[in-house]
Symmetry: C2
Subunit: 293 residues, 2 copies
């Protein structure tokens, strides 16, 4: 006790000494957060017992991660992603009532102000890949359809890139759209079967992934933001369960409930009925929104 009172450091009381220095006037939330980080960080160091060289390697890694980050590249978010921290923060902030669709990470490729399209529109503007019909309903947890729900969807093209990654190559707003449900809560639109793609792996985070024997790929998915008056906004994906990386998403975004079914439709009657030019993939997926608290 004597030593803690004086603020002198020992290996045993290290975290307590650091925490004891937080002034009482400190913002209570900051104080709580810094105390928790200090306790867990000291516990990790005591467990790991890094050598001075290992400690310095960690310092260098963090420095390189900072240097790789700029207005266009956020390497610390990638670091958070590959450690599952982004998904954990998402999970903590989006606990859903039973029966509601689950959330997953937003990712860096959403853009605002995408034009609203009529139901049934084709968002695949580059004509690449396998045509895909996506349809279903937006429902409340009590099973009733939600009218006027806004569906904001975006996905990669068949080369595994979002339009914003290939400005001048892909058409503007390629594979993005905003739709609004009618009274039946139903939606349908055409896209292209999405493809897996790697997160940027030419920086320190990619190097770490490699050293851990992990690949940088995200399994094929569509992104959604679903909004409706009186309901919690849902940020989520749906995934292709047959993607080769479905069990090893580099950023841990996959949840069992987010697996959709991508059915290849080859039946000529159905092809004709949907006005398609040939075989297409069909994804039927309902989303269930939680009522606003």
């Amino acid at each position: 006790m004597h030593e803690v009172d004086k603020g002198y450091f020992t290996e045993d009381n290290s975290a307590e000494v650091v925490i004891s220095r937080i002034a009482e006037s400190t913002d209570p939330r900051l104080s709580e957060v810094v105390a928790a980080i200090t306790r867990h960080m000291h516990a990790a160091v005591k467990e790991i017992e890094p050598t001075q060289e290992e400690w310095f390697k960690a310092i260098q890694f963090l420095t390189q991660t900072g240097h790789k980050s700029d207005d266009w590249r956020q390497e610390f978010i990638l670091l958070s992603d590959i450690f599952g921290v982004s998904m954990l923060v998402d999970a903590i902030n989006n606990r859903k009532p039973s029966g509601a669709s689950e959330s997953t990470v937003l990712g860096p490729f959403h853009i605002p102000d995408v034009p609203e399209l009529p139901m049934g529109a084709n968002i695949c503007l580059d004509g690449k890949g396998h045509p895909m019909l996506i349809k279903g309903r937006i429902l409340s947890t009590d099973g009733s359809p939600i009218s006027g729900a806004k569906i904001d969807v975006w996905q990669t093209n068949d080369d595994g890139f979002y339009d914003v990654q290939q400005k001048g190559i892909q058409p503007e707003f390629n594979l993005r759209g905003v739709f609004r449900t009618g009274d039946d809560g139903a939606y349908h639109f055409w896209g292209a079967k999405p493809r897996f793609y790697p997160i940027p792996d030419d920086g320190p985070v990619g190097k770490l992934l490699g050293a851990l024997g992990r690949h940088p790929n995200r399994p094929a998915h569509l992104h959604y933001i679903l909004e409706a008056d009186g309901f919690e906004t849902l940020v989520t994906h749906i995934f292709d369960p047959d993607d080769e990386y479905i069990n090893s998403d580099a950023v841990f975004g996959v949840k069992e409930s987010l697996l959709a079914k991508f059915d290849l439709i080859e039946d000529s009657e159905r092809i004709k009925e949907e006005g398609a030019e040939g075989p297409f993939y069909e994804v039927v997926h309902n989303f269930v929104l939680a009522p606003e608290k």
Copy 2:
């Protein structure tokens, strides 16, 4: 179990899922370190329950800390310092047998190849501050004097700066020296009473210190590296116990055993005997080196 096997993420099993992705071929030490960091990081996030905004503030803080770091400034080391992590790593790597002098952090101001001086030399080349006589013996844990021990010492001048921080203002090698003990293990040299000084606080780490109600100052001290054949090298400080910041070192470097005594000598006999021009400070401090394992 089923979900962990498939690698799907839930709030409960988050750390386990991330750890399960580390390939078996991974370097065992890297695997161990990453698993420990993952476990402690997820535990911290679960305790803190950050909002998305708080998480992003943390991302921005780390990014700014990286951007502030360059060849001359290491803001991540400062961050490690003010969280007591640098001291903890030092403590873990320098557990000393009973009776041996304790270590503390090296700090960023050591330079190699400082000229060796004859015992009794005055390392205060700018003539500023209060003259100070430092003397004592370098001993083994069995009490016997260590012959040929190399004493590498450095300290601030009376303005609170190291020579390397004021190139062109302070003389080269001001308040630095290397001495070597004779058979009696004794040392003595002249310096100037050191002063407290702030760690660099114009970056994100300084801002955090301010938000926590903490000052950036280190209490007055002298730095030492002590080396002798057959003994563990000791990196340490001695501190002025009367410094106003002695109980609140910004980097937690103070240990009770590192407190020296800085006595003001005003007795004219002693002044004459030591060849001083007036009153001076005297610090008598023995260092005890641990035998090499």
